[in-house]
Structures are given as structure tokens and as C-alpha cells.
């Protein structure tokens, strides 16, 4: 069996809020690994730190403890906790994708361009990238009349489809998904599930949080259950 593409070992995250002089635990001692062509689902109650794990891997959060070992396409191994900012940017550009619940995109840009952008960044011509974007958007049945306008005024479900198409288009080696089907109607959610299955077949490794247990049951090859972190005093004792 191939070695895992991602190994999370003892990941922990707590926030130090200076204003209130408080430490807020978010994740504690999380370990698991993710393999190519497999989907690993994170489950657990609200407050168990599921999103915190995804953000720690992507460096949107600075992890407080642990190692996150990522193996690149070239076989190099990086600890994402310690990798330099430019190494992280490079990996985000070429290997690691993140679909969040919110769409952060440039305002005033046509939906088709928003979706095509990651491919253009990899050197694909604008026309080809836009064609691929159009295919994905129609697969998720986003009405064609919306393609030329900015997603800024879209509904939650429309926006989520744009976000997903943008995350899927470049087929990153590792894709992080934070509740990708939460605000979709059942028919569109079904289309997205089909696309995720295709990505899996193409060898994409995925780490996902799903809103519905049913989706987890259908798509996950591996389920990792997280428990809410203990009180901060316990965590600090552990770290000491």
C-alpha cells in the first residue's frame, strides 16, 4: 500500500485571546492519516474542533501542538506546522485545495472566471479553463444566466456551488472540504456527491466534514471521530 499523503500526529489548537486574557481550546491530540483516492471524514459534535483541524492543515490557523506531515507529488515530506510561508503558498497553489463554507473571492469578477482561476494559475489557457468551469457549473446545475455575473449577489446554495466548482476544477492532490453540501437542495447535493466520487476515482485524497451523517456513510472510506477538547488546564499540563 502507498504511504499516506497526509499524517496528522497529535494536532492541537488553542486560541490565546489577549483582550479577555483567556485560552480557548479548540482541538486536542488529533491523529489520523489520509490516503490517495480515499475520503476521510471527520465527525463529532459541534465544538469538537473539526474545522479547526482543516484550518490547521491549510495554515489558516497556526497549530499549537503536533505534526502534520504532507508528502508532495515529488515525494518530499513537509511538516505543514513548520513549513515556511512560501512553501505553504506553493502547496496551496499546486497541491492542496480547500472548500470552505464561505466564498472569499474577488468582487466584480464573473462567476466563470472565479471558478476558472485556479486552473489559469496552473498555466491552463483562459479559454480551456473557462470551458472546464462551464462543464462543472452545468454538472451542478447552476443556471447559465448566472455565469457571467459576480457571485456576490448569489444565494447561499448558488454560492456554495461556485465554491465547490472552484475547489474541484484543478483536481488538487489533497482536498479539504468543510460541509460542502450543507446548503444544497437534495438534487444538487446528489450531483456534488457524484463529482466527489469521480475525484476519488481520479486519485484525489479528501478530508471532509459533512453536515449529514448519511453523506458520510456513503462517501467515507475512513471515519475519524473527534471529541471536544478537555479543559485548557488539562491541555497545558499535557503540553508541559
Amino acid at each position: 500500500m502507498l504511504p499516506p499523503i497526509l499524517q496528522v500526529e497529535g494536532y492541537g489548537k488553542h486560541f490565546q485571546l489577549h483582550e479577555q486574557n483567556k485560552l480557548i481550546p479548540s482541538s486536542h491530540n488529533v491523529s489520523f492519516s489520509v490516503r490517495r483516492g480515499e475520503l476521510t471524514a471527520l465527525i463529532g459534535p459541534t465544538g469538537a474542533g473539526k474545522s479547526s483541524v482543516l484550518k490547521g492543515i491549510y495554515r489558516t490557523y497556526l497549530p499549537s501542538a503536533g505534526r502534520i506531515l504532507y508528502r508532495t507529488a515529488r515525494g518530499q515530506e513537509f511538516d505543514l506546522v513548520r513549513a515556511s510561508e512560501h512553501q505553504i503558498l506553493e502547496l496551496r497553489h499546486s497541491e492542496i485545495g480547500f472548500v470552505t463554507q464561505f466564498l472569499h473571492c474577488l468582487p466584480r469578477q464573473a462567476t466563470l472566471d472565479v471558478v476558472a482561476q485556479p486552473l489559469i494559475g496552473l498555466g491552463v489557457t483562459r479559454n480551456d479553463a473557462r470551458q472546464r468551469a462551464a462543464d462543472l457549473l452545468s454538472a451542478m446545475s447552476l443556471p447559465e444566466r448566472l455565469w457571467s455575473v459576480s457571485p456576490a449577489t448569489f444565494s447561499g446554495g448558488e454560492r456554495q456551488r461556485v465554491n465547490l466548482a472552484r475547489g474541484f476544477i484543478a483536481k488538487p492532490r489533497l482536498l479539504l472540504l468543510d460541509e460542502p453540501t450543507a446548503s444544497l437542495d437534495p438534487k444538487t447535493a446528489e450531483a456534488v456527491i457524484g463529482l466527489i466520487e469521480r475525484l476519488k476515482a481520479d486519485g484525489v485524497a479528501m478530508l471532509a466534514i459533512f453536515h449529514h451523517p448519511e453523506t458520510t456513510r456513503r462517501l467515507a472510506d475512513q471515519v475519524v471521530e473527534l471529541a471536544p477538547p478537555p479543559a485548557i488546564e488539562e491541555i497545558l499540563k499535557d503540553l508541559a
Binding site: 483582550e19 497556526l62 510561508e85 512560501h86 474577488l106
Partner: protein, 276 residues
């Protein structure tokens, strides 16, 4: 990715300076004014790297020293101490050991600057086209016809009406003045551009179009930029990495999404919380 700029321990003190200046100023002292000698420690010990095609944000409030950083790098002022290396294809320039002529050459050929105040970046007594021609002349383009054509295409690119190419910039709106400044800065296709609060004070809709223009240019030309702003929206929209300054010191640096979602320093936490 290759490094284009390396800044190390940059400091600028206005005034005589004294041995107690450094320890008596900064975020912990809550001032940049030395109580012993009255000097202003505008920046102290500022270090960062910039890579080709990257946009770095320098954020902080008024008096944090963020503009002083770019003014030193663009040779508007000389730093009190520190070093900056500019990597230009296969050459390296140690910026602060160059003589005045060498510095002027880099300014005219390889750097561009857009100031908050168009008065600083434009000559208000000559036409918009003339402003651009001036920069092209300084960079050794001498043919009148070629200069005029290049000026026109730059103004068209930055969406300045060509019918106004011969008008004086003082008769332009604020947004249009910034467009002319951007066209002028880009005239020599510099690999490194400094932008100092370029959208501050403009109407929101004008701000938005200027930011769009900057992003389009960055994507087309892969220009590396240092963007100085107090506006977190501009930081979020334009930059991939950012440094946060307070009273002349860098208190935090990181990926932009990390600084906005997981700020480490008490000051950055307050700044981000007050903007949301």
C-alpha cells in the same frame, strides 16, 4: 519562486537619537517618541522577504511607520541603518550602498511607486501624457512618436480617457489621478511596485475599480508589490502575506488569511475584531 527583495533590520530615526531611543519606544512603551531626546523612532528592525509576483501587505495605523518602510526602499528617504538587497534577474543590488546616480537609475527603470497623495507622484504642471513621457525619457526611451504611443496605451490600459491625455492632472478627479499615477509607475514595466495607501480617501466605488485594476495588472505582468494600507479590506483582497506594524516595529507576520482568522498579537486581535 525567486526572491526579489530582502529587507533586514531597517531602521529610521528622525532627530538626534540617543542610546535610550530603542528601549524607550515601540509597542510596549506605547509610543514612537523617545522621552529622553525627543527623536521619533519611525521604524526599527524591520525585516521581510518579497518573492517574484507576490503581493505583501504592510498594515498598521497612522504612525506605525508603514509608509516610512516603502519611502526608504524607494529612496525617498535614507534609512538610519539596515540593509536591503534587490535581486534583478542575475544581478544583486545592495540598495543603501549604491550612489545617488545608481539609486536614481533603479527608481527610474526597475521600481515604481504610487503615493496616496498624487501631488507626490505626478507633476501637476505638465499633462497626463507628459507625466508618463517624463518617466519614459528618464528610462532612455527617446523617440517622440514611440513615447506618445506608449503613453497612450498605458493610459488606455488604466482606463483614462484618451481625449484627456493632454490635460493637466490637477483638473482630474482623485480616482483618475491615481490611474495616471499607476500608468506612470508601470511605464517601464518594473518588476517591483510600491503602493502607499493608494485608495485611501477615494469614493468606495472608485476604490473598488482601482483595486480591480491593481489585481489585473498583477495577474498580467506578475509584478511584485508592497502594499501599504490601514484598510483590512484591501489587505484581504490584494495580499497573500502581510506584516503588522505598531510604533515602528513589526509585531506579527504571516499568511494573510492566518493573520485575519488567527491573529497572534494582542494588537492585531484588536485590529481584526474592530473591523468585523
Amino acid at each position: 519562486m525567486n526572491k526579489i527583495l530582502e529587507v533586514r533590520n531597517l531602521s529610521k530615526i528622525y532627530g538626534p537619537g540617543c542610546p535610550l531611543c530603542i528601549e524607550s519606544t515601540g509597542p510596549d512603551a506605547d509610543t514612537n517618541l523617545c522621552p529622553h531626546c525627543g527623536s521619533v523612532v519611525a521604524i526599527h528592525d524591520v525585516s521581510f522577504d518579497l518573492f517574484e509576483g507576490e503581493i505583501l501587505g504592510v498594515m498598521g495605523e497612522s504612525g506605525s511607520g508603514k509608509s516610512t518602510v516603502v519611502k526608504n526602499l524607494y529612496f525617498d528617504q535614507a534609512p538610519s541603518s539596515g540593509e536591503a538587497i534587490f535581486f534583478d534577474s542575475d544581478k544583486q543590488h545592495d540598495l543603501f550602498s549604491l550612489n545617488a546616480a545608481q539609486q536614481r537609475w533603479l527608481r527610474n527603470h526597475r521600481f515604481g511607486m504610487v503615493y496616496q497623495n498624487p501631488n507626490l507622484g505626478l507633476n501637476f504642471n505638465i499633462s497626463a501624457g507628459g507625466n508618463i513621457a517624463e518617466r519614459l525619457l528618464m528610462s532612455d526611451l527617446m523617440d517622440y512618436g514611440a513615447i506618445r504611443e506608449r503613453a497612450k496605451s498605458l493610459l488606455a490600459r488604466t482606463e483614462v480617457l484618451l481625449s484627456r491625455v493632454d490635460d493637466l492632472p490637477k483638473h482630474f478627479s482623485g480616482g483618475m489621478q491615481q490611474r495616471v499615477q499607476i500608468a506612470k509607475a508601470l511605464a517601464t514595466q518594473p518588476p517591483l511596485l510600491f503602493l502607499d495607501e493608494v485608495t485611501t480617501g477615494l469614493d468606495l466605488s472608485v476604490q473598488a475599480r482601482i483595486l480591480d485594476l491593481i489585481l489585473e495588472i498583477q495577474q498580467e505582468l506578475k509584478t511584485a508589490m508592497v502594499v501599504v494600507t490601514h484598510d483590512l479590506g484591501v489587505i484581504r483582497l490584494l495580499t497573500g502575506r502581510a506584516i503588522v506594524m505598531k510604533y515602528g516595529r513589526v509585531i506579527e507576520s504571516g499568511l494573510t488569511d492566518q493573520i485575519l482568522e488567527d491573529p497572534q498579537h494582542a494588537y492585531t486581535q484588536r485590529l481584526v475584531a474592530s473591523a468585523l
